[in-house]
Amino acid sequence: MTSALLYVLAGALLCGGGLAGCLLVRHLLRRLLAFNLLGSGVFLLLVGLPAHRHGSDPVTHALVLTGIVVAVAATALALVLIRRYFHLTGRVSLPTGRQEDR
């Protein structure tokens, strides 16, 4: 049962790293990668905690399965938006407020 705890810890670290990537990185594609990592961390937490406490729990498995499919649809949609944005402006990162003032 200790091994599930390892995955829970990895999930927590992935959450933190993914969040930091989402907030700190400017490149939109990298931000999307970080967002996916954050999602994987949340899924690991959701499945790992019940697995550590009382065996595997089919209810959370179903929840995470739904989450994965929604996450990949969101990723695909975000990629469409990013590519469209790149077409229209030629940029791969969102402008910050200061750049707009200039």
Binding site: S3, L6, L14, G17, S40, H61, V69, A76, L79, G90
Partner: protein, 88 residues
């Protein structure tokens, strides 16, 4: 005891590929790291005794989203850097 070591190794590899996906300077390398991360995640789901999620992750995390990202990277690279279309 062996299983614990294996799990520890898998978790270390997960974190290492995640760090690679986040920190790689080269975008293509970051995406490849992300695909490796997806494959390792599907192994992790098997270890957590969630075969349904492992199947979905193997198809989606390693296959589908990897292709999506790689396609996007090659697309974003196609135009010369700097963006000639800033004016429109």
């Amino acid at each position: 005891m062996t299983e614990l070591w294996l799990d520890g190794l898998l978790v270390c590899a997960l974190l290492a590929t995640a760090a690679g996906a986040l920190l790689s300077r080269d975008l293509f390398r970051a995406v490849v790291m992300f695909i490796a991360f997806g494959l390792l995640m599907s192994l992790a789901w098997v270890r957590l005794r969630a075969p349904d999620i492992a199947l979905a992750e193997a198809i989606i995390g390693a296959g589908l989203s990897g292709v999506l990202f790689l396609d996007a990277v090659s697309h974003l690279r196609r135009r010369p850097a700097g963006g000639a279309a800033e004016d429109d």
